[in-house]
């Protein structure tokens, strides 16, 4: 147990640190005038071995996809192959300053150019920008492009349609750009309600944002009709590509009628989610939207790669330099390692794994949308013995060695538990997950107290979420 884990501050003892900066010894070459020196510096005084042991211990408390299954729906927590990191660690890349001139950056530019081309091939889009630093940043960039498109066209459209199953970032991106959100309900099958969509269409609608497959893990069967309805009214169709993993190599979103989309390199293309970042959310567009892409764009002429800034209709810059380059390298490596046939297998295995789990679990848990799913599915806590809730199931799963699934999302399913196994788990692990879920259900009958107290084996036990929200401690206190 690690409940006695101390903070680095509690290891502080004056005079412990004997470390000297190499080459400088203990004498200062350029003494700072006395009156400019601080008398008190809020740094801990600890020895090197204390520091190493402290942070090594801390790191062992972490749970990541390298520790075990991480079925966090919609986040696609697949295994990140180590070769990605090996390539991204090459000094030829890490040592390159982003301001290096084009002539000396040809390798890096080539990687970015080719990654864009590969994303175009995968999605059917005509041009990609790699600059957005996350999925939501991609959405924002995408909505800015939509806005610019209508501005140049001279049309005033201020509404963007979003289904009720959408990620919360969709309405946020739309609002950031000054559009109004109109929510479109889903029907009882989990598809977009086509009648409601038709009723919502008018000359104010600029676009619809749709996650494909949607957040219920379902492929909308009316997607072609939706695209037709939007295009008939001169509106654009935006694809939230968070769930591209389910269809990568199988269906090109552009062929479904999407005009613009973001992909999450940190989901589908196995780059790390690393504590919320750095991510990467490239945006792809069809030909008509290409002039509005952010600058610079990478072009190729006579086997030379260069950055093009002269694009008068561009929305401008959305990131300093060129985005999160080392993340792009990892995605590039992943795509190169798998090739086209490997990527198809990714989608197939992701979908097979999810359906295997769905069928195994639906005999024990309520499945609100009873359909073949794509890469993820949503069950909930309805009918759990003793009123055991999703929250309690999720916390207890930690004791069984699994990361919890996404909970209470999408919002249209009460007490949602959204499970996404990804393609990288094999049958034995999936079976162990089912066993854990079934064991938890049995505990709800036989020993509900343990579920209410869970988690019991984690470094930090059950957290008082109400107290934490009402009286947050935002600074470390002695």
């Amino acid at each position: 147990m690690v409940s006695t884990m101390q903070t680095i501050f509690s290891l502080h003892k004056k005079g412990k640190n004997k470390y000297t900066v190499p080459q400088f010894g203990e004498k200062s070459f350029d003494p700072i005038p006395e009156h400019l020196c601080r008398s008190k510096l809020d740094l801990v005084d600890v020895s090197e071995v204390d520091v190493v042991r402290h942070y090594r211990k801390l790191s062992s408390l972490n749970f990541g996809v390298d520790n075990g299954m991480y079925p966090l729906g919609s986040c696609t927590m697949k295994y990140n192959p180590k070769i990605n990191d090996a390539v991204a660690s090459l000094v030829q890349f890490t040592g390159q300053h982003p301001a290096t001139i084009e002539e000396l950056s040809q390798g890096a530019l080539q990687i970015m150019y080719e990654l864009s081309q590969m994303l175009c091939a995968i999605t059917g889009m005509k041009r990609f920008t790699l600059m957005p630093a996350a999925g939501a940043h991609g959405e924002l960039t995408g909505v800015m492009i939509i806005k610019k498109y209508f501005e140049i066209k001279g049309e005033r459209r201020n509404v963007i349609l979003i289904p009720d199953s959408a990620h919360g970032t969709n309405p946020a991106s739309v609002a950031m750009c000054g559009f109004t959100v109109k929510e479109i309900p889903s029907n009882s099958d989990g598809d977009v309600d086509i009648d409601a969509l038709r009723a919502a269409m008018d000359e104010n609608v600029a676009a619809m944002m749709l996650t494909c497959p949607n957040t219920l893990g379902l492929f909308d069967r009316n997607i072609i009709t939706i695209a037709e309805i939007l295009h008939t009214h001169g509106a654009l169709f935006y694809c939230d590509g968070a769930n591209l993993n389910a269809i990568v190599g199988k269906v090109r979103p552009a062929d479904l009628g999407f005009d613009i989309m973001h992909v999450n390199l940190h989901k589908t293309f196995s780059t790390p989610h690393g504590g919320g970042g750095p991510g990467s959310g490239p945006i792809g567009v069809v030909e008509t939207l290409s002039p509005f892409m952010p600058v610079p764009v990478i072009e190729k002429k006579d086997a030379q790669y260069y950055l093009e800034y002269n694009r008068p209709q561009s929305i401008g810059r959305v990131h300093s330099f060129y985005g999160n380059f080392l993340i792009m390298l990892r995605a590039y490596t992943y795509i190169r390692m798998l090739g086209a046939s490997g990527l198809k297998q990714v989608a197939e295995h992701a979908v097979v794994n999810a359906n295997y789990l769905r069928v195994k679990l639906q005999t024990h848990f309520n499945l609100p949308y009873k359909r073949i799913c794509m890469h993820e599915f949503v069950i909930n806590d309805e009918g759990m013995p003793g009123g055991i809730t999703t929250n309690e199931i999720a916390k207890r799963l930690l004791d069984y060695g699994f990361h919890a699934p996404t909970v209470y999302f999408p919002l249209i399913v009460h007490g949602a538990i959204m499970v996404e196994p990804t393609e990288t788990e094999h049958k034995e692990t999936l079976d162990a997950f089912v066993d854990a879920m079934v064991a938890i259900k049995n505990e709800a009958h036989t020993n509900p107290e343990v579920l209410k107290a869970a988690p019991l084996t984690t470094p930090v036990r059950k957290v008082d979420a109400v107290l934490a929200a009402r009286k947050p401690v935002l600074q470390w206190e002695e």
Partner: protein, 130 residues
Amino acid sequence: MSNIPENLKYTKTHEWIEVQDDYTGVCGITDHAQEMLTDIVFVELPEVGLEVKAGEQVAVVESVKAVSDVYSPVSGRIVEVNKALEDSPDLLNSDPYGKGWIFKIDIKDKHELDELMDASSYAEHVASGE
């Protein structure tokens, strides 16, 4: 079964309004609403003087479970807000019809009150699970 006082009017979105005198209404969220939200941890109050239409969003309540908009039951001007909620959002849980009131509104059109539900229709609405 949640508490639904007889003397109040209700909305489908689980707000209540109490008409204090001819033109002032006190508004909050119902006992059922606070029960569904569970422990409320934050309330965003409207600005005094804000003009709203019936059904327009005026406040936000946040619980550990969800963030919910609060809509005005009637059109009018916000004349007072319950500042006590900023430090003690739990009043919405402990006393939703009393110390947990959210805002007072200068009612623009009294006829709008006729559109709202009385206690028995609201009880049916809650029972229908919407």
